[in-house]
Every structure is written in C-alpha cells, then in structure tokens.
Amino acid sequence: MTIAAGLDWTNLLADKVALITGAASGQGRAAALLFGAQGAKVVVADFNDEGAAETVKMLEEQDSEGIVVHADVSKRGDVDVMVDTAMERYGRLDVLYNNAAVQMSGRLVDCTEEEWDLTIATNLSAIFWACRKALPHLIEGDGGSIINTASTLGLIGSEGFAAYGAAKAGLAVLTKQIAIEYGPQVRANVIAPGSIDTPRFRKVLDKTPGAEKFVEQLKKGIPVRRLGEANDVACIALFLASDMSAYVSGAVIPADGGLAVYR
C-alpha cells in the first residue's frame, strides 16, 4: 500500500482489479464506470446478465476494461465461482465492492420466512462468503480494500424493514470485524446510502401513491434537500477503493446528504 502524496487524480486505480456485485444497475454500475475511468479493470457481477452486459459495453465505450460474471450472490456456490473467475481472468484482486442487495419491505409479523432467508442470504451471508473467498487474494495483493454497502436503514430503526435493517446492521459490524482482523493488509469500510435516485428507488416510487408528494416530503428531511445520485455514492466508493483512504478502515461513511445526522 502506498501512502499517497500528490496522487494522480486521473488514474487513481491504475492496474487494480475491482469486483463489484450488483453492477448491472444503479450505484454498482456508476461505480463500475468511475472505477474503469480511473484505470481499474472491473469485474461486473450480477444475476441480471443483460444489465451486466450493458455495463461492460458502457465500459468499453469509454475505453475501460471489464468482464461480466453471472452470480446470484444469495448462493454460496455462485459467490465462490465469482471470485475464482475474477482471479482466473485477471490474476489479482484489489477491491471487493459488495453492493448487490434485495430490499423487501414488511413489518416483522408480515415478513415471511422465505423473505427473511432471502434477505439475510443476499444482504449479509453473501458478503461473508465473498469476503471469506476474496480475503486471501486481497492479502496477497498490494493492500486490498473491501467496501460493503449498508443503508441508513442499517443504522436506525424504521417501520417496515425488519429483515433488511437487520441484515444491513449486521453487515456494518461484520465489516468492522474484518477491519480489525485483517488490519495490516486489508481495509474494510461501509457506505451507508440514504435515498439515492436509482432504478430500484424508482421501482419503489412507482408503487407509491402520490409519489411526487412523497419525494418532496422526503427531500425536506434531507439536510441538503435533494436525493442522492448514483454517482455521489460512486465517488465515495472511489475514495475508499483507492490509496486516498490508505488509513481509513472500519469506518461507516454515510452517503445520505446528512440524513443520518438527524438520528
């Protein structure tokens, strides 16, 4: 790991290999494009093959390099293959960005066992599996970085997110655990997004009656008075992925326009 004085801002991830889950859409895709533009080779992992292929096409259009890896991260076998494929293709791994997640709403008594199991598998166990599989490779490299995406809803309680909130909070502590256990070689940090205007967010909105009014109300509760963009989150991920954050580990960085400050 280099301690960076006078970094090359145009090439912060030169020669690095970054694996991003859920990179077929939203924040994952924005990070893939930004990491690619900063010199990284990007492993675009998702179970949405069409979206993943589109992300790689966009990478190629900006003269960056990337590959699609099909993975349903809620399945341990897929996660192992995902990391193996990255290693086979590029021979190294520097950044593991666990961004894929499902979001199922439901108050505790309405949350079915299937919903619970799938949420915990996708949003928590998947991160454990991916880190376990990737850590030996990250350790071998020149200082690896793990980025795990939680949510404001993993920091605070909120009505209707029993499984999601528990998985995201668990992920935050798992990340701190990794930061401490593998400190000398690997850094591990959490990004906690607030309300980010991604396809997922739009999907929820489409089902919300009076969506426009809901968004206006939502913005009033965000200190900077706007929704986040996928690229706002990607910039924070770039900071955490690169040597800019060489002494940052075990941190939970809100990407929320100040939302969590109210809590």
Partner: protein, 257 residues
C-alpha cells in the same frame, strides 16, 4: 488535474503538524491557501514554502479564541479574490491532566481553543461561503472525541463537543451548499502526538507501542490525513455532510461510536 482550483482555503492552525501538511497539500491541489495561526513566524514559514513551491499562500496571524482576530482573518481571506471554498479548523491544544487535578484555567483554555475556536471560525467563514455559492468545512476531531482514554478530560470533552457542533452546523447550512464534516485522526507521526510522546522517558518505545495497538499496526501518516482532507474539500464528496471520518487504521471500529 488538480482538485481545489479557483478557491481560497483557510487552514486554521496551519503553522504546524497536520495543519501545516494540509496547507501545503491544498496549495499543490491549486487552492490559494491562507495559513492562519497564533504562531505568526510558523505560519509564515509554511506560506513561504508554498510560494517557493510555485503555489499561492499567505500567512495571517490569528488567535482563534478572539472573535476580532478571527473576523479580521476571514475578511482578509475574503479580499484575496477567489471565493472562500474551504475552511479547515486544525488549531488545538491538549492538556494531559486528570479531572480532579485540572485547573479551571486549563479547562477553559482547552475548551476555548479546541471547541470555541472552530465555532468562531465557522461563524465568520460560512456567510462568505454561502455568498460564494457553497463550501466545505473540515473540523479536525480526534479518536479521543469518539472513544476516551483516561487523562485527557478537557481535550476529550472539547473534541466530543466538536462532533455534535459539526453535525449541528451541517444541518443548518446544508441547504446553502456548505458541507461540514469531521476528520477524526488517531495518533499520527506529527504535531501534538509527537510533542506529547517526546515527553515520555523513551519516546520511540511509546510510539511503537501505540502503533502496535492499532489494527493496522502502525501510526498514521500526515499525508494520509491530507488525502482525506482533499476528498472532503473537493467535489468528490458533494453528498457528504455531517459525517465523521475516522482516520485511524480501524481504531474506533473496536468501540461504539
């Protein structure tokens, strides 16, 4: 490409340690740097080095506990030309005296410099940032403002208070596009930590011990703090406000923060 062009960056406490390093780095990133410090000769050394290196920097004497000083310093910064885009509050002192032995004067001195200082600086600079269309304030906290160690009651209280002052200011000025965040370093190889550890019977041994306590098994490097400061000062972090960025090798991850 540089990250901080077309803006004035005020670095309060810029004559020494982390403030010195941040001032020099911001100049490298294209900012016009105002090195503000009670130590005028020290501030001048840093500003001169910036200019010798091809950058823009001036030294302005300022005692952060005196509002007249702070206001005059900020007015001078505002007169330079480009908008005031960045304020770093890095001036601080420590007092290594346990509660029952701590004098009223010592308590007051630490709170005035470490907590009231950032208050006065923000109060003076934020209106200029609002006028200029936005800005970024970085308050230097400490691991000791998040988790405590025995023997630093005044410093821990001031830094803990600064956490909430940072959040408060962030909420109040988020609609004005002024972002306010904190960097919370653990022991780094400069400034206060080096001065304080130099008083130990075996400074190198103490430093090695403290480094070994860290999950990364080493002390922080001032350049690493500069990297984070550039991130928070620049447009890389436009959706980040009210946050506390621990720059501590994972130190605070052991505790509830």
């Amino acid at each position: 490409m540089t990250m901080l062009e077309d803006r004035v960056a005020i670095v309060v406490g810029g004559a020494s340690g982390l403030g010195d390093a941040i001032a020099r780095r911001f100049a490298k990133e294209g900012a016009t740097v105002v090195v503000a410090d009670i130590d005028e000769p020290g501030a001048k050394v840093v500003a001169d080095a910036i200019v010798a290196d091809g950058g823009n920097g001036i030294a302005v004497p300022c005692d952060v506990t005196k509002s007249a000083d702070v206001n005059a310093m900020v007015e001078e910064a505002a007169s330079i030309g480009p908008r005031i885009g960045v304020l770093v509050c890095s001036a601080a002192v420590e007092s290594l005296v346990p509660i029952v032995d701590l004098s009223d004067e010592d308590w007051q001195r630490v709170l005035d410099i470490d907590l009231k200082g950032p208050f006065l600086c923000m109060k003076a600079a934020i209106p200029h940032m609002v006028k200029g269309g936005g800005g970024s304030v970085i308050n230097m906290g400490s691991t000791l403002g998040l988790i405590v160690a025995p023997g630093h009651p005044a410093y821990c209280a001031a830094k803990g208070g600064l956490v909430n002052l940072t959040k408060q200011a962030a909420i109040e000025h988020a609609p004005d596009k002024v972002r306010i965040n904190m960097i919370a370093p653990s022991a780094t190889t400069t400034g206060l930590f080096m001065k304080h550890s130099a008083q130990a019977p075996d400074p190198e041994k103490l430093r090695a011990q403290i480094g070994a306590m860290n999950p990364m098994k080493r002390l922080g490097d001032p350049e690493e703090v500069c990297d984070a400061a550039v991130f928070l000062a620049s447009d890389m972090s436009t959706y980040l406000s009210g946050s506390v960025l621990p720059l501590d090798g994972g130190m605070a991850a052991r505790r509830i923060v």
